[in-house]
Symmetry: C2
């Protein structure tokens, strides 16, 4: 899967619909993956993304220490892997091996991209003011990569307790909203 | 449409999938409505929602001054009204009259509910630390109302520039995630 660079000015359109994402981090050569649905765009360009990563997650400490991560967007073809990642915890587990996902080298960060995800966003930690109180991190997207072959991504949207809504019909409305 | 009280502990499942919402505020008896896609859950219970409301929006000043609002979730049946609200601006415009939406009285806040939306979340401003830098407000949901007749809400998910993804198929996976 050859990915192409994607304009930072258009990243908001990938995250605004609210798909489940997988966040990758790495520390001392040990990669980790977690699933995440609690995030929002905060600025168009450079793209800022705010996200909640629980301090019960191993990724919390790694993100605080390394100040970088990758946001990867899966489609429903990866449902089994998303569930595998969401159900497993712990610093000793190799989640790439356990889930069958493939790490790929990023350009700006040490955290790996997930090769199978159709979008990868390399991120640097930009603001930690709400980390202590809400576990809320503000990330800046440094680079975005997309699989140009995926024209109609069937993203997964978490409704809680294992129920997911899949991306459905696309409509175009006379909206002036960016 | 008779709405029922909805448990606060389950509110996250309504917002996590990422639907476009309409935020209502009111100041000195003058209601306002804006569309919003830049928000995230921040805590399960009491439910906290973080959201970006641009300081170019009239709602920004009203929310800062009154410290309360309502988050209303529309379905695709309200697409025309969502676009109408998103395309119009200004403190002098009565957006309820212009869009044909119906205000209803809330229980805990002075901002009106939008009667036609299948979910209404009455909110109080909980944290303003990131307002100056990012226009990011943390809201606490005080009460949630749902139309029990809507079993399969076809929510709208903004992809930018008038393109919306509609909620599609629902699947259940063996996920242990809350």
């Amino acid at each position: 899967m050859a990915k192409k660079s994607f304009p930072l000015s258009k990243v908001y359109g990938l995250l605004e619909p609210g798909p489940v994402v997988m966040v990758t981090t790495a520390r001392k050569g040990q990669p980790n993956i977690m699933t995440m649905s609690w995030y929002t765009m905060m600025e168009f360009e450079p793209p800022l993304v705010g996200c909640v990563i629980s301090n019960r997650n191993y990724s919390f400490d790694t993100l605080k220490a390394t100040r970088e991560c990758v946001i990867n967007i899966p489609t429903v073809e990866l449902a089994k892997q998303v569930v595998s990642v969401g159900n497993s915890h712990g610093p000793k587990l190799d989640k790439f091996a356990a889930s069958g996902l493939t790490p790929a080298t990023a350009t700006y960060v040490k955290a790996p991209l997930i090769a199978e995800c159709y979008v990868n966003l390399e991120c640097r930690l930009a603001d930690t003011r709400l980390v202590n109180k809400y576990c809320f991190f503000v990330l800046e997207v440094l680079a975005a990569w997309i699989d140009p072959a995926v024209k109609d991504p069937r993203t997964m949207h978490h409704r809680g307790n294992g129920v997911f809504m899949l991306a459905g019909e696309i409509i175009k409305l006379p909206s002036k909203m960016k």
